[in-house]
């Protein structure tokens, strides 16, 4: 493995959780729901995945449990915002606050343990292609899922009937209801999908990225994922580009820290967060464009009259 290859490999590892969480949130927001609890769902996914992997000895079971944990945790949000029409912004924050607390409590006994790492799966033939083979076809399962999810979601949203209905609900839940499309049920499913994706993103952190449990190990990735969805104008392929851009920034600043350059490490660590703000400013500056792209019913509660 060359140095360049090694660096690219770390970039894919850093980008994968962002990509997964963002693609999940994209589906949620396309249905008109704003779930600010991504950070909480990721961290819950991370701790449950780690615990399950430790207890069963299987990283795959760990990943599965992490996904389930994110999904179940998102149901809490769904119940409050969809059934009880609570404010989505506040409830999303609540989910993050609870997730950070609950994961700390669950993970307390696992702090400092060495984890089980998810192994790479080399795809025969393809993995031996020079240059890209090792990078793209000798990776762990979660990486493959993350790439697949981009194209899967893209196909689902733009080529299937259910995807059309989901976009319609995000555009106007009132009209969708009038046509007999089940707004609440579809939104429940979307939120749960987002939760599962965030949970899997968390599992990637504690089983691949740094195979151990550290409190608050999501470190703001949930929020960056939320920003990525805006950055991508709610389009799956642009999320892919954005996630890898941020992966590169993250890895770049780590290498810069290692090399020194005389820049304080804290300033470099702040780069991904500052980059998020800069990207948001650039993207949202055009008010008209933002208004055109944003799902029109995003963040609004819906109460069907019966």
């Amino acid at each position: 493995m060359t140095l360049a290859e090694a660096i690219l490999l770390t970039i894919t590892t850093a980008a994968t959780p962002l990509l997964l969480a963002a693609i999940g949130e994209l589906v949620v927001e396309r249905s008109g729901v704003l779930n600010l609890g991504v950070e909480g769902m990721i961290v819950m996914g991370a701790v449950v995945a780690f615990a399950a992997a430790q207890l069963t000895g299987s990283a795959y079971l760990g990943a599965l449990f992490g996904m389930a944990a994110g999904c179940l945790f998102s149901l809490l949000f769904a119940f409050l915002t969809l059934t009880l029409v609570a404010n989505q912004v506040a409830t999303g924050l609540a989910l993050t606050i609870l997730g950070l607390g609950l994961s700390g409590m669950i993970g307390e006994s696992f702090v400092g343990q060495r984890g089980v790492q998810l192994e790479e799966i080399a795809i025969p033939v393809l993995s031996s292609i020079p240059l890209i083979g090792n990078l793209l076809f000798n990776q762990d399962l979660i990486f493959y899922i993350s790439i697949f999810s981009v194209f899967g979601v893209s196909w689902f949203l733009f080529k299937t009937r259910l995807g059309l209905q989901l976009r319609a609900i995000g555009d106007s839940h009132g009209s969708a209801h009038a046509l007999g499309i089940s707004v609440i049920k579809t939104r429940y499913l979307a939120v749960m999908f987002g939760g599962a994706c965030a949970g899997l993103a968390g599992a990637q952190l504690s089983l691949v990225y740094t195979p151990q449990w550290v409190e608050n190990m999501s470190a703001g990735r949930g929020w960056i994922a939320l920003a990525l969805v805006v950055f991508a104008s709610w389009r799956p392929l642009r999320v892919l580009a954005g996630a890898y851009l941020f992966g590169a920034v993250t890895i770049g600043q780590l290498h810069a820290q290692a090399l020194g350059f005389g820049i304080p490490s804290q300033f470099l660590s702040a780069l991904p967060y500052l980059a998020t703000i800069v990207v948001l400013v650039i993207i949202s500056r055009n008010r008209r464009l933002t208004l055109m792209n944003t799902p029109a019913s995003l963040g609004q509660s819906f109460v069907p009259d019966r």
């Binding site: 059309l164 976009r167 319609a168 106007s172 009038a178 007999g180 008209r288 029109a296 009259d305 019966r306």
Partner: protein, 524 residues
């Protein structure tokens, strides 16, 4: 006239004792309705009579509290729009159930219950729209289409399901008279094919013209079933409104030469992708004059209101003048100080804050103009609610606002009563200039006539009034001169006495309209 036994053979849809209760409100109370096959049946009633509730139950989007629906003499429970469609009921909504961000074909696909490819739908839609003379581009985005075109999507998408009964909810409220004529032709064609139409309206003249039978609702109850062609407009109105509504008297005061509102070549770019740009609007309103501004929804009405009120400013101060002062760059509060009053279209969330009390809503519009009474002096600006309450009680008395409790929140008032309060809030200041947008939209007949009379009285007492309205009857009732707004451009105002419905219709559709070549030639 009606047969009480269900199942005498020739009824397509029959409803017995249908009731819907919302909390304490009986929105529909024991409604009976019969629609025969091959007829255009009118459902008449004024705003809030329960027409929409009834059809929502027929289309499965509301669940009846009690009562029975028969479809072709068999009792049915319609629990979802999908089921209604499966039975053969199609619906064209009043406020369209369309998705702006999607294409025409995608919008149609959403109302089909089976999974059809978008391309297949586009083809079918193209064939149908040719057949019925309803031209449509299946790949256009709805956001780019006019109101008339949007209605065509709704109709085509309903026809695609091959329904036996088509429900149309207030379809002409958004059309020009000429577009309405074309719609009537389409309806006649639909009936000729053996289908039935349930036509919901509060416009008597239309109903008498195209409907075979009529059912009339008032306050959620059935008040009559008749053949509208055998009735007079007065007898139909009585069934609809109950008591006689006081007609508006328009003696016509003296109009002086003093211009109180003026815009000079006023242009304003569209602020959002969904807004309309104003183009060279020239408007002069003199003391004593009421100018009615007609036009189909979405042609720049709210944009014009915003620049007149100062909610949006323009770079050149001289573009808008109120009472002789150049106000283009002034905000709404400063314009109010000059003696101007404003009544926007939307009651909830624009003219009033729904969860605030009437007296708080009083502060909303008048904290600046009545600062000496409503606020203490000094930098703290403490609100003197005792003085505010007194003022809002005065308005409640003056405008006969019906409400429960002493100072209720705005959302608890009916549309008509809240509108009376909102109009009264401005009249109470005796404004020398009043700009109103859709003053009686969604308001019951009694309140509407009271509000219109108040506008006329204000003009007679020497103010200048601008009434922006999509209701042509209203415009003819109050206006001394009439102009038409079309795609952000305003026609020259002409005396109301010289205006005809046809002429307004041409001006409304004059420049826009894709298939109105004939009219376009007549329009100047």
């Amino acid at each position: 006239m009606t047969d009480q036994q269900p199942g005498h053979g020739n009824c397509l849809l029959e409803v017995r004792g249908l009731t819907k209760v919302f909390g304490e409100l009986r929105a529909n109370d024991g409604i009976d309705l019969e629609i025969k096959s091959n007829e255009i049946h009118a459902l008449l009633g004024e705003n809030g009579a329960g027409k929409s509730t009834l059809v929502k139950m027929l289309f499965g989007s509301l669940e009846p509290t009690s009562g029975q629906i028969f479809w072709k003499d068999k009792p049915v429970r319609i629990t979802s729009p999908g089921q209604a469609r499966a039975l053969g009921i199609g619906m064209v909504f009043q406020h369209f159930s369309l998705f702006e961000a999607l294409t025409v074909a995608e919008n149609i696909a959403l109302s089909m219950d089976q999974d059809v490819s978008i391309e297949g739908i586009a083809e079918q839609a193209a064939v149908l729209s040719r057949e019925y003379g309803l031209p449509l581009d299946p790949h256009a985005h709805v956001a780019d289409l006019s109101v008339g075109e949007r209605q065509r999507i709704e109709i085509v998408r309903t026809l695609l399901q091959n329904p036996e009964l088509i429900i149309l909810d207030e379809p002409t409220s958004v059309l020009t008279p000429q577009e309405a004529d074309r719609l009537f032709e389409t309806l006649a064609k639909i009936r000729a094919e053996g289908r039935s139409v349930l036509y919901i309206s509060h416009r008597l003249e239309e109903v008498q013209r195209i409907c075979d039978r009529a059912t009339v609702l008032r306050h959620g109850k059935l008040t009559g079933a008749c053949d509208p062609r055998l009735e007079t407009p007065a007898s139909l109105a009585r069934m609809m409104v109950g008591s006689e509504v006081k007609s508006v008297s328009n003696a016509g005061g003296t109009i002086t030469d003093e211009i109180l509102i003026e815009t000079r070549n006023l242009s304003a770019p569209a602020r959002t992708p969904f807004a309309v740009a104003l183009k060279d609007v020239n408007l002069k309103v003199r003391r004593g004059e009421i100018i009615g501004i007609a036009g189909v929804a979405g042609n720049g009405q709210s944009e014009l209101f915003d620049v007149l009120s100062g909610e949006e400013t323009v770079p050149d101060a001289d573009d808008v003048r109120i009472c002789g002062t150049s106000v283009g760059r002034m905000g709404i509060s400063e314009r109010r100080l000059l003696g101007a009053g404003f009544v926007p279209e939307e009651r909830h969330g624009h003219a009033a804050v729904s969860d605030m009390t009437l007296s708080q809503n009083m502060v909303l519009a008048r904290h600046h103009s009545d600062a000496d009474v409503f606020l203490t002096g000094g930098p703290l600006k403490i609100i003197r609610y005792d003085a505010v309450k007194k003022a809002s009680e005065r308005i409640v008395r003056e405008m006969d606002v019906r409400m429960s409790g002493e100072d209720p929140v705005a959302s608890s008032l009916s549309g008509g009563n809240l509108q009376k309060f909102i109009v009264g809030r401005e009249l109470d200041r005796q404004p020398s200039v009043l700009i109103v947008n859709q003053p009686t939209w969604g308001v019951d007949a009694g309140a509407a006539s009271r509000i219109r009379q108040a506008l006329i009285d204000l003009a007679e007492s020497g103010s200048a009034v601008v009434v922006i309205s999509q209701d042509l009857d209203e415009i003819f009732e109050v206006a001394t001169s009439i102009a038409v707004l079309n795609e952000g451009a305003l026609s020259e105002a002409e005396p109301a006495s010289m205006m005809t419905l046809e002429r307004i219709g041409l001006l409304m559709g004059g420049i826009h309209g894709e298939d109105t070549k004939v009219e376009a030639q007549h329009a100047h």
